[in-house]
């Protein structure tokens, strides 16, 4: 199981702030997880589409599509940051 968090506009559009996901054996990196979520269709397909400027973090560190993920990880998806 991994914990997946959603923030800001993404959290609102997806209607959830976090969820637990049991990773299929085929999903080994962020790119794979994103594809898994996109396969849910509707807002998931829309909000996490490759054309969207989505950022991600794994265990509190900014991550790339090829960043490896494993059971126990905390993964976050969010829009580009706008603080300061």
């Amino acid at each position: 199981m991994v914990t997946v968090l959603y923030f800001a506009r993404l959290r609102e559009a997806l209607g959830m702030g976090s969820e637990q996901i049991a990773l299929p054996a085929t999903v080994r990196d962020l790119e794979g997880l994103r594809a898994l979520l996109v396969a849910r269709g509707s807002v998931w397909e829309q909000e996490l589409a490759p054309s969207k400027p989505v950022r991600a973090a794994v265990n509190l560190a900014m991550a790339h599509g090829d960043t490896q993920i494993a059971d126990g990880d905390e993964i976050a998806f969010f829009p580009p940051v706008t603080g300061g």
Partner: protein
């Protein structure tokens, strides 16, 4: 190095005094305060809400400060960032850098602020006459962020 995320306001004089700790090696104190404006992207803003990713925020800012310290001759640095509901004229963020000389203090302060804008997980939602809207990243802020972009 001090990093604080808080809903409460901050006092610049008190923060600077605490950071300086009367260290007589400090010759320069550069600081920056970000403030809520009543307009953004041409629209009126009556209020905003700042959301953040607790835990990652502190870690990201500590890394930013660490990078600044490795690049410039800095004695100490402080970042205070507010979250929650803010109104125009409210203070949002404070960055203070102390150093022996002004060039390093200025450069590190601006670097921290620039990187904070693109790397620290905060998101602004603005309340305008047309309703609420999430602030979009400005192109100018995002150039330095491209390398963390999640490749689609």
């Amino acid at each position: 190095m001090t990093v604080r995320i808080q809903t409460a306001d901050f006092d610049v004089s008190a923060e600077i005094a605490a950071l300086r700790r009367n260290n007589p090696k400090v010759g320069a104190v550069a600081s920056f305060i970000g403030v809520v404006r009543d307009v953004n992207e041409g629209g009126a803003v009556s209020e905003m809400t700042l959301e953040h990713y607790a835990g990652m925020t502190e870690k990201a800012i500590e890394e930013i400060i660490g990078q600044a310290r490795s690049r410039w001759n800095v004695l100490d640095a402080l970042v205070v960032h507010r979250v929650g509901r803010l109104k125009p004229v409210d203070q949002i963020v404070l960055v203070v850098v102390t150093g022996s000389h002004r060039g390093d203090a200025f450069a590190a302060c601006e670097f921290i602020m620039d990187y904070l804008k693109t790397r620290a997980p905060f998101w602004k939602k603005e309340q305008t006459p047309a309703g609420t809207r999430w602030v979009e990243t400005r192109e100018s802020d995002d150039i330095a962020a491209e390398r963390w972009r999640f490749k689609g």
